[in-house]
């Protein structure tokens, strides 16, 4: 009964993936009109391409910054909302927190371009209000990447919040209350009870989020196109630009394959962990 699902995936995903491998060994270039087999030369080219390595490093900064801050803000929010006893207030605040996730990601990205706008963006008005100079966030080669990251963080914090909040609600209150009666402070409870109990969920959330963030495309592409210059270029926009701006399909495919291999490593780690967890659960 898996056959229909598998045949669809085979035809629409696995075969195109193999085609991508095939393309990565050719100098397929629409503008030059070449299409020959060139062996590993595309891959050698990647090794000498500084733009590629800079994109990888930016990608690492992007993933690290986004999931790190997502986690801290999401956890903070979850802990605070968890403390609210009034059911109505708790529900209202949860709804407010989830709102950013209701925006279509691409529209959130466009809309944040307005927020970052130098003349009338709400962020610069805030800065101006406190007497600082207005900043052209997305036009600055030092700040553009971080500005995009912040948008990503803002849009996906609700995700982290919901996941961690669900985890917190599954922790028995008795353990925490017992510790509090014994005189444990808020931080002690967090450090020795809450976090250790949340650990499996935190791990799953961080893994899923980093796999998803690693392949981000829309925020960067819509907000900066990878620019100014190359200053916010990450792997996915680098591939897209190489393929659909410079029409070097062969070279772009080989970069895509490298990205695929890195992502595979992450996902295999994750799957091994999940399978182990399932086994433990079924043993219980």
């Amino acid at each position: 009964m898996v056959t229909p699902a598998f045949s669809i995936v085979l035809i629409l995903l696995i075969l195109p993936l193999i085609f991508s491998f095939y393309l990565s060994f050719r100098n397929y270039d629409i503008l030059k009109g070449t299409k020959d087999f060139v062996g590993f030369s595309n891959y050698y080219k990647i090794l000498q391409d500084n733009s590629f390595f800079r994109a990888i490093i930016r990608n690492l900064i992007y993933v690290g910054g986004v999931i790190g801050l997502n986690f801290l803000i999401g956890l903070g929010m979850a802990l605070i909302v968890h403390q609210i006893d009034n059911k109505f207030i708790r529900k209202t605040i949860t709804t407010i927190i989830v709102l950013p996730m209701m925006l279509i990601p691409s529209s959130a990205a466009v809309f944040w371009r307005v927020i970052y706008n130098k003349e009338f963006g709400i962020l610069n008005q805030f800065i101006n209000f406190f007497g600082f100079e207005r900043i052209a966030w997305l036009a600055s080669d030092k700040l553009a990447l971080y500005a995009v990251m912040f948008t990503d963080i803002w849009s996906w914090t609700p995700w982290m919040f919901l996941v961690l909040f669900a985890g917190l609600q599954n922790i028995s209150r008795e353990a925490i209350e017992a510790a509090q009666i014994d005189g444990a402070s808020f931080w002690q409870v967090l450090r020795y009870i809450t976090l250790p109990l949340l650990k499996p969920i935190i791990f799953i959330a961080m893994m899923l989020k980093s796999i998803d963030t690693f392949r981000t495309f829309d925020y960067v592409w819509i907000m900066t196109n990878g620019g100014p210059g190359e200053s916010s270029q990450i792997i996915s926009t680098f591939i897209y630009r190489t393929a659909f701006r410079f029409f070097k399909y062969g070279y772009a495919s080989s970069i895509a394959i490298v990205q695929f291999l890195i992502a595979s490593l992450l996902s295999i780690l994750f799957l091994v962990f999940l399978t182990k967890k399932e086994k433990q659960e079924s043993r219980r």
Partner: protein
Amino acid sequence: MIKKVFVFINKGLFVFLVFIIIIWSLLPIYSLVLISITSDPGNFSTKLFEVPNKITLKHYWVILLNKNEWIWQYLVNSIIIATVVTVVVLIVSILAGYSFSRLRNFTSTLFFNLFLFIRMIPMITLIIPYYIIIARFSLLDTRLGIILAHIPWGIPLGIWLMKGFFDEVPSELEEAAEIDGASTARIIVQIMLPIVAPGIAVTGIFVFIGSYIEYLFALTLSRTFAITLPIRIAGYSSLHLIRYEQMAAATIIGAFFMVILIVFAQKYIVRGLTYGAIKG
């Protein structure tokens, strides 16, 4: 006394933090709404906390009723594409999810993990072959082209969620039906489907959303006719005339559909968001 002061400060800090959370989520959205209801183009929200003196719903009427500007065509594209994708994905993943839930042998686990793995492949890896293949079959700028690109990415999510819902149904039920002589097809259709109906609805909603908000494939595989809502909204800022007010209004209308869908799936939202890895 000191303890009382401490408690008071703690309470104050707590309320302050809740306030910060509300600002964090709502301030950008407040500014979005403000832009969408400001009357003069290019002159909006010049003062941060000042509601514009002329509030108008003009921009909403323009994108909903003005024939040259309306977003219906894009919204309809998005809904048609997402609906077809959802139906196809549901059919195959109900079958696959059921068998993954009941068969626990090596091959089954291997295939299940293969589907999970597929969900994590960077979409950009496939964009070049998709573009070339779909252009070869003259399916560029058609809804079918985008549908074909979306389907394989919905299947892992569908299977993952459906397996979880089937796992919750005790197998004694089918064993009893089997003893009474029911065939496998009949067990699925008459016994399992009614029980997991809510799960099918929830799975459908998440698959639908995944296709509804998808950007990369829809962007690359469309030109004019097959443009979907996310592409249209992102396009407001790259046209010659930047129409922020319409962009804001379209964003809110697009979000409105998301809210409706999510409200129905509320109870299972964490499960849907984590592909079933966490059963909240």
